[in-house]
Amino acid sequence: MRLGRILWFAVLAIALGASGAANWLAPAGYAKQYREATDARPSAEHWLGTDELGRDRFARVLYGTRISLLLAPAAALLSTLLAALIGGLAGYLGGVWSRIAMAVTDLFLSLPWLFLLITVRALMPLNVSPFVSVLVTFLLLGLLGWTVAARVLCASAASVRSSDFVRQAKAAGLSGQRLFWVHVVPNLKPVLYAQFWISIPVFILSEANLGILGLGVAEPMPSWGSLLKELESLVSVGAEPWKFVPLVLLVLVVTSFQILLSKQEEAAG
């Protein structure tokens, strides 16, 4: 158990450390095109080979990790908080509020997001830096990703609302706000954790797909999403295992986060 923890921690530390030290580990940067060595195999010079445009894959993985590891959890946190707030409050307040919130959630789920996102892109200037573009995208994902979790949370919060301990806490004179944040929200933790952990990989992939709408990270900046997109045509990747590195890294990092934090929980609980 103990060893496992250390191992997962090491994975995380290496991923974070390496991406933080990208400037030193890959001094040529993620955009440099080695045009005479495109789609190259791993070599001493390019540890993970180069991509279609001759850019060093190792550098792109490091910088992509930095972007995604920074922004995806932040967006996941945002959507989780929104889900807690909207779903949790709806269930906690019950009655009309619950019905209104669930109607809004249904509306959100049924909205033609594609068109809304297209509108967002239309309102954004064309000359935005790649980082702003990816920032806006993750922000949007965070703002839109709460709906499904909110429904589950609404049901959980409703059951918490009628529990003895909430009545007892009310009788102790707690305000509605304190009741909600101190007594209701902690009881929604399992759902909130699930929402958070599921959102991270989902957002990372969604970010890449939003490239279709001119959102998401813009060239030449890499993100895990844009790197994973290369795996779309698996046929070509089969014989070139080093191209799986971004995927393996994503799985490892998300898993290690999850394991470390759940152990934390156990230790605390």
């Binding site: 529990s163 009310k170 009788a171 004179g173």
Partner: protein
């Protein structure tokens, strides 16, 4: 009703409560609680005991329940108070202990957090003040006040300990009235008697009046100064404990007496008068 003097009345209620679309749960219930006394409210489940407790705390669900009449508490009518005013009373002046200690504590929170929240609801002060207050009230219910205990979750305690924590929370602000709603019915016999003794001693040491709600006449008998019998939404009889036991007036009271185990002094079922002496 009897003609006891109004002097020393902490709370006097005249109350009808109905849930929408149903016959009233409480009908013209008249009840008086005097300063510093322990009043037992006895009735079988469904008789409206808990509704009465909730009405006093202003915790009836407003959407579904309507309370009419008045609940005079000192010089306030609780039914006319705003939610804000009620909240400042709850836990500080009137507090509640519920039946099932484990489900009445939030399973996701440490004891310290729950006590802290209860304290902060009515007190401002530093963290140290808060800790001191928490420790003091834990001691007052004979619980350990160490860090180790404060870090526990409800699931890591015995039922008796949990109930003491709830009581500690309820007496933390020295309330004038403590409502114990079936507070001992989920406990085993020994723990039950310990908790009853705790209530009694808190009552004596702090002067907190206790409304002790139970379906169990026997447990009430030990600690109550007076007893009110609630039957089908009405108080059918109310009087000093000895008087009720010695001379129950109402049919229903007599039935309750008859159901008691015979360990009490003999001749407790004398009443033959079958006229329904209306409590009013």
């Amino acid at each position: 009703m009897n003609t006891e003097t109004q002097n020393g009345a902490l709370l006097s209620a005249n109350l009808t409560v109905r849930y929408t679309g149903k016959p009233p749960v409480l009908r013209d219930v008249e009840l008086e609680i005097r300063e510093g006394e322990v009043l037992g409210l006895v009735g079988q489940s469904g008789s409206g005991k808990s509704t009465l407790a909730m009405a006093i705390l202003g915790l009836l669900e407003k959407k579904r329940a309507r309370a009419e009449g008045s609940i005079q508490f000192r010089n306030l009518d609780l039914l006319n108070l705003s939610e804000r005013e009620l909240r400042s009373l709850r836990g500080r002046t009137i507090s509640l202990v519920l039946q099932s200690p484990l489900s009445s504590l939030n399973p996701a929170l440490k004891i310290r957090t729950q006590l802290k929240e209860a304290w902060r609801a009515h007190a401002a002060g530093t963290g140290a003040d808060c800790t001191n207050a928490i420790r003091a009230c834990l001691r007052s219910v004979s619980l350990p006040d160490g860090e180790e205990f404060l870090r526990k979750y409800p699931s890591q305690m015995s039922v008796g300990q949990a109930q003491r924590v709830l009581i500690a929370m309820a007496v933390m602000h020295r309330p004038a009235l403590l409502i114990a709603d079936e507070a001992t019915s989920a406990l085993d016999v020994i723990t039950q008697s310990e908790i009853l003794e705790l209530f009694r001693s808190l009552n004596r040491s702090t002067g907190t009046a206790i409304l002790y709600i139970s379906h169990d006449l026997a447990s009430v008998a030990g600690i109550c100064d007076r007893i009110a019998i609630l039957h089908e939404g009405q108080i059918v009889e109310c009087g000093a404990t000895e008087q009720i036991f010695a001379n129950p007036q109402h049919d229903y009271t007599r039935k309750l007496m008859a159901a008691l185990p015979r360990v009490l002094p003999a001749d407790t079922s004398p009443a033959r008068k079958s006229e329904a002496a209306a409590a009013r």
